[in-house]
């Protein structure tokens, strides 16, 4: 398993260094160091915690693709995360599918849902877009509450982790960790490619000035829809993987609080940066772990961070670092 994740990670590091300049060599070295750290870290920290961070990091990166690069604030991303978790859990537990096929099916379900939501939501912009995605995701919440296969309040529990590709036994925490790392790196690489492709450039143009992008001849609705579906798909990939890791799919995954949480991770880490959502996810998951052991009310603390971020820290951590060190402000 570790081989698999290493190779996909190396591919991303190589691609990152493709245009050979001194700065990018540094970036390539940095990426390799981070990758080595990610491979070594389960020997230092509790793997389940790390896997949670990686799942949420991928979820936040997927969300960030929309808000950070397309300027579209979706307040309903939990719908994709959660429904993929349900579909994966159902396929693996009830139909006895292998984990890789289960995650694939969950991801496809999220993609399909993303297509439907996208077609409806991109008809409005800005605040309306946020409200529409929120309302649609609340519909998914009620479906998850009422449909028979999701088991209402109980959720789908005791999902077997199974054996990946018939070789890697995921009940072993290390093999599970490297699987999650591999999934995360694949997802991150897809986002990295998308952002640095002509598609990503058009998306940024739409974010900056949609009317102008239209006048240049781009059919912006199609770009927005594609970005929405891609974002939903990757959020689903994160959700399906999460269902295997925690052997659980519950209503929590489809609530609007979950959608809000991924907004916070991205805002805290830095919207429109590549690494920001990963940092934000790690911080928020760590914070929640810490708060769970205290008597402090979690929503109040989360809400306060929200307010502070919006008022004085809008660039987020990665954005703030980039601004301090005067590098190109985006695409850190």
């Amino acid at each position: 398993m570790s081989l698999h994740s290493q190779s996909s990670g190396r591919a991303s590091a190589q691609a990152a260094g493709a245009p050979a300049t001194a700065g990018l060599t540094l970036a390539r070295v940095g990426a390799l160091v981070v990758l080595a750290g990610l491979l070594a870290v389960p020997f230092l920290l509790y793997p389940v915690f790390l896997m949670k961070v990686l799942c949420f990091a991928l979820f936040a990166c997927a969300f960030n693709l929309l808000i950070g690069f397309g300027g579209l604030l979706s307040f309903g991303h939990a719908a994709f995360f959660g429904s993929a978790a349900y579909v994966t859990a159902h396929a693996v537990k009830v139909w006895g599918w292998s984990p890789e096929l289960g995650i694939l099916l969950g991801t496809l379900a999220a993609a399909l849902l993303g297509l439907v939501f996208g077609i409806i939501a991109i008809r409005r912009q800005g605040i309306y877009f946020a409200m529409i995605t929120l309302a649609l995701s609340q519909m998914v919440y009620f479906l998850a509450l009422q449909l028979p296969f999701t088991h209402g309040e109980d959720g789908i529990q005791a999902v077997p982790r199974g054996v990946l590709f018939g070789v890697f036994d995921l009940n072993n925490p290390l093999e599970m960790y490297y699987t999650v790392l591999g999934v995360f790196l694949i997802g991150f690489f897809i986002i990295w490619r998308a952002v640095h492709s002509p598609f990503g450039q058009v998306l940024k143009a739409i974010r900056e000035n949609e009317a102008r992008a239209i006048s240049l001849g781009y059919r912006t609705d199609r770009y927005k829809l594609l970005a929405f579906v891609l974002s939903a798909t990757l959020a689903g990939l994160a959700g399906g993987t999460k269902a295997i890791v925690f052997q659980l799919a519950t209503l929590t995954d489809v609530t609007w609080q979950m959608s809000g949480e991924v907004v916070l991770m991205t805002l805290l880490g830095g919207m429109g940066t590549l690494t920001g959502p990963v940092i934000g996810a790690a911080l928020v998951v760590t914070l929640e772990n810490y708060l769970a052991a205290t008597s402090l009310p979690v929503p109040v603390v989360i809400g306060c961070i929200f307010v502070v971020c919006v008022l004085v820290f809008r660039r987020g951590i990665a954005g703030e670092i980039a601004a301090r060190f005067g590098k190109q402000s985006r695409n850190v």
């Binding site: 409806i120 309302a135 509450l145």
Partner: protein
């Protein structure tokens, strides 16, 4: 007398329609407040549901801590919630007007989490009962259905509030200032009108409406920290369906969707939770600006 309408006993049909009308009254009051705030501040107030909950809790606290009854609460709770809103606007929201409107949504989302989390921490998730005031207990037989007095009062009260708000905005001098400031705040300020104060008062008024809705709701639903969080999402859908352009549109859509929800409970109860969202999707496909909205 005891015939059926589409195979449904009339008692059940009218009972559900009444429930729908009650829900619609709350949708109308809340979407009215949202529309008033949005018109002036260009902020979608995510904290609206939390402030509705706060209104109900203030009434409950007034009764249980100070022995102040329903009728005074009906006046005091909106004032307290409105004052709280004015402080929020002055200290926090007013810093964001020059930025993308999405930040206003995110800020008020954070505020909603704080307010709801604080009440939940203090009072737990279980609902607290609030008694129906003695003057409005009991009910009357209308021949085709039994109407509890309090529910009738809620419908009448919300209609009065919605209509007077509409008149105040469309027909009075203050309303004219408000509409002018919505169109062009700089010009209105140049005429010597204190626009920032008007913005604060508008926000305070909008959230006071939410507080009032909370007091009206207290005897019907239980007073619970979570009572606003689902409602606000439905109201968002109502606002998308109606379009933010017109006050009257927000109100009419609120009542209409409440009734439709009630009808769905009669004919296909499984779908009653999602019918508003389905209608939203259909409206967006057919008329993206909303039923009463203008394309911008």
């Amino acid at each position: 007398m005891m015939g059926t309408i589409f195979g449904i006993p009339p008692q059940a049909l009218f009972g559900q329609l009444l429930l729908g009308l009650i829900n619609g009254s709350f949708y109308a009051l809340l979407s009215l407040g949202l529309a008033v705030i949005f018109g002036m501040l260009n902020v979608i107030n995510f904290a609206h549901g939390a402030l509705y909950m706060m209104g109900a809790f203030v009434a409950w606290l007034l009764l249980n801590q100070l022995g102040i009854g329903y009728w005074w609460a009906l006046l005091l709770a909106p004032l307290i919630v409105g004052a709280f809103g004015a402080v929020l606007e002055k200290t926090l929201l007013s810093r964001l007007y020059k930025l993308d409107h999405l930040y206003g949504l995110l800020l008020t989302f954070g505020l909603a989490l704080i307010v709801e989390g604080a009440f939940r921490h203090q009072y737990g998730v279980s609902g607290q009962p609030y008694p129906i005031p003695a003057e409005l207990s009991g009910g009357r037989n209308l021949g085709f259905m039994f109407l509890p007095n309090y529910r009738g009062w809620v419908v009448v009260a919300s209609l009065i509030v919605c209509i007077s708000t509409w008149i105040a905005i469309e027909k009075t001098k203050l309303g004219a200032y408000l509409r002018a400031a919505t169109e062009n705040p700089v010009l209105v300020q140049a005429f010597g009108i204190n626009v920032p104060r008007m913005v604060t008062l508008t926000y305070a008024f909008g959230v006071a409406l939410a507080g009032l809705a909370g007091v009206l709701a207290a005897p019907i639903y239980q007073v619970s920290p979570l009572m606003g969080s689902h409602l606000i999402i439905v109201v968002f859908a109502v606002v998308v369906i109606g379009g933010m352009g017109s006050i009257l549109g927000a109100v009419l859509t609120g009542y209409g969707l409440g009734l439709l929800e009630g009808l769905t409970k009669v004919f296909y109860p499984e779908a009653s939770n999602i019918v508003v969202f389905v209608i939203m999707a259909v409206v967006l496909m057919v008329k993206p600006a909303g039923l009463f909205g203008r394309e911008r």
